[in-house]
């Protein structure tokens, strides 16, 4: 199945992520290693949702992931979806400034481009 193809065939009200019973290809049960940034995203979520900070609820995380839209849902990896949702929640909650996040993202992108030969 072409990613995103199923979205147009869903009945009204059925969310794209809610795919139980729809064709989605085989499940690959293989274990794989996580990149350091993925582990960091996981840790970030645990720390933000813990009782000490209470800056994020896992249900908020789910709502944001489910609201990414079919194209983003298919093209992003698991922890990319988490990161997009965490960013959206922290903006909504007023924890981080949008401009501050945008500048930091540009800075890291520039560092990455310098470190990666074309």
């Amino acid at each position: 199945m072409i990613p995103g193809e199923a979205a147009s065939n869903l009945p009204p009200g059925r969310s794209y992520h809610d795919m139980g019973g729809l064709p989605a290809g085989p499940v690959e049960p293989a274990e794989h290693n996580y990149a350091p940034w993925e582990k960091r995203v996981d840790a970030l979520m645990v720390l933000l949702s813990g009782p000490r900070r209470n800056l994020l609820k896992v249900d908020e995380l789910r709502r944001n992931i489910e609201g990414l839209g079919a194209r983003a849902y298919d093209s992003m990896s698991y922890y990319e979806r988490w990161m997009a949702a965490v960013s959206a929640i922290l903006i909504e909650r007023g924890v981080i400034a949008i401009d501050e996040l945008g500048r930091k993202m540009s800075e890291i992108e520039a560092q990455y481009r310098e470190a990666t030969p074309p």
């Binding site: 059925r14 809610d18 139980g20 609820k57 249900d59 908020e60 709502r63 489910e66 909650r93």
Partner: protein
Amino acid sequence: MTRVATVPEFAPRYRAGDAVRVRRAAPPGHMRTPWYIRGQAGVVERLCGTFGNPEELAYNRSGEPRQPLYRIRFGQAAVWRDYAGPERDTIDVEIYQHWLEPVEPASNPGSPAEKAPR
């Protein structure tokens, strides 16, 4: 701000063995009731406990009144069109109380008579 006093949680309305049907509804937001099970009839297997309502928590609200959560058992042959396995196969899905409505004891969930055209 003063809020109208409300119950912190709803009392369980169903017991193990009760016949129930999952409501057919499609409200916006984060739902824990999978699409494929909406409208299906099953039997309460057990009460799992009472938890903050995830649909409310998804918007950073209190999640109160907390909702009883049940494990509901459905007949696989009734849920899936063209189910190829044995007629006695079942599937358990955990459903919050506000998604359930009682079914008259006369109807037998999972029996061929219960199969709704899809």
